[in-house]
């Protein structure tokens, strides 16, 4: 895993620095989430099974979706 502190991404339009270069799967693991989430990377939905194949790069934008009450 290469060290790179210059990677800045956006999570739901909020800038975030990555501590090191990581895939979507590693980023999710880093968040220690306790709920299911959906990730849209640069306006493209990425299924869970493909998270490990997407290496995040500087300027990437993630839309993070999570469960919300509905009728």
């Amino acid at each position: 895993m290469s060290k790179d502190s210059n990677i800045q991404i956006q999570i739901n339009h909020k800038p975030t620095h990555l501590p090191y270069s990581m895939t979507l799967a590693q980023w999710v693991e880093h968040q220690t989430l306790e709920l299911p989430v959906a990730l849209i990377l640069n306006n493209q939905f990425i299924p869970k099974g493909e998270w490990a194949q997407h290496l995040l790069t500087d300027g990437d934008h993630i839309d993070l979706l999570s469960p919300i009450q509905g009728g």
Binding site: N12, P36, F45, K48, P67, I68, Q69
Partner: protein, 272 residues
């Protein structure tokens, strides 16, 4: 079947026992929602997906899981088939369920369901293996088109979402039951009072989906229980087959051998 034996019904080859489903919006707090669910024991809880922070929705999800009630994701907020299909696929991947309540809205103010876009979305989603539950109008032609593309259940509205107006067009709903005797019908949207749930279940609907009628009442837990009993009463009445209505009064008590008021007795008393 005995008077207190539970009965089940089938939805996409899945046996269902509960005839009351619940939405999860607008409850005063999660404890109230949990109490309502524990009393009503809904067959599904509806929910959705939205852009949130990483921790947003965490307490909600924890509660949903603790209730151990099946979830039914929806495509609320979609205005086209394309949007609904996309959100359905995201929901399936996220929640790991094929169930989807398909909502395609035609009008932002009335939240009235779209017709052609809804039908197109359902057709595509059925081809993709979803168990599609379309939120639709009570229009026969739209409902027929939905079943023609493979929908094996329909969720017609009683009134606009969240209004509590009840069954605005009982005739149309009854005609849907008559026209689609083998398609499960779940009344979705518009109910406000338990008596309205009884009314639609008496028509032979298979279940009702409720949200604001419970969550916006003063005592949601008590209202959930009231709706549960109302749904059960209506369904039992449907199975028992109500008597046909008739215009002329029929005395419940036999009029033969009446001890007083007999014409002949009256004649003797008054000398007529």
């Amino acid at each position: 079947m005995g008077p207190s034996a539970p009965d089940s019904w089938n939805l996409y080859d899945t046996p269902m026992t509960s005839r009351l489903w619940m939405g999860s919006s607008h409850f005063p707090n999660w404890n109230v929602f949990a109490s309502a669910c524990e009393l009503a024991k809904p067959g599904f809880i509806t929910l959705s997906l939205r852009r949130q922070t990483a921790t947003g929705g965490q307490s909600y999800w924890k509660l949903i899981r603790s209730l151990d009630i099946p979830i039914l994701p929806n495509t609320a907020g979609c205005f086209s088939a394309h949007e609904a299909i996309q959100l359905a696929e995201i929901s399936r991947d996220t929640f790991e369920t094929d169930w989807i309540k398909v909502e395609v809205i035609a009008d932002e103010q009335s939240l009235h369901p779209e017709g052609p876009e809804l039908i197109r979305a359902c057709e595509v989603l059925i081809q993709k293996g979803f168990k599609v539950l379309p939120y639709c109008s009570d229009d026969l032609s739209i409902c027929k088109a939905l079943t023609d593309v493979g929908c094996r259940a329909l969720m017609p509205l009683g009134a606009p979402i969240g209004t509590g107006l009840g069954l605005l067009n009982p005739f149309n709903l009854e005609r849907l039951r008559y026209r689609f005797p083998k398609i499960p019908l779940i009344l979705d949207a518009g109910l406000g009072k338990p008596s309205q749930a009884t009314q639609v279940m008496e028509m032979g609907f298979d279940a009702v989906l409720l949200n604001t009628a419970i969550s916006q009442s003063v005592n949601p837990a008590e209202m959930a229980l009231a709706f549960l009993e109302a749904v059960s009463a209506g369904h039992r009445a449907f199975k028992a087959v109500p008597m046909p209505a008739q215009p002329n009064a029929q005395p419940s008590t036999p009029s033969m051998d009446m001890p007083i008021g007999d014409y002949r007795v009256g004649a003797e008393l008054y000398g007529n």
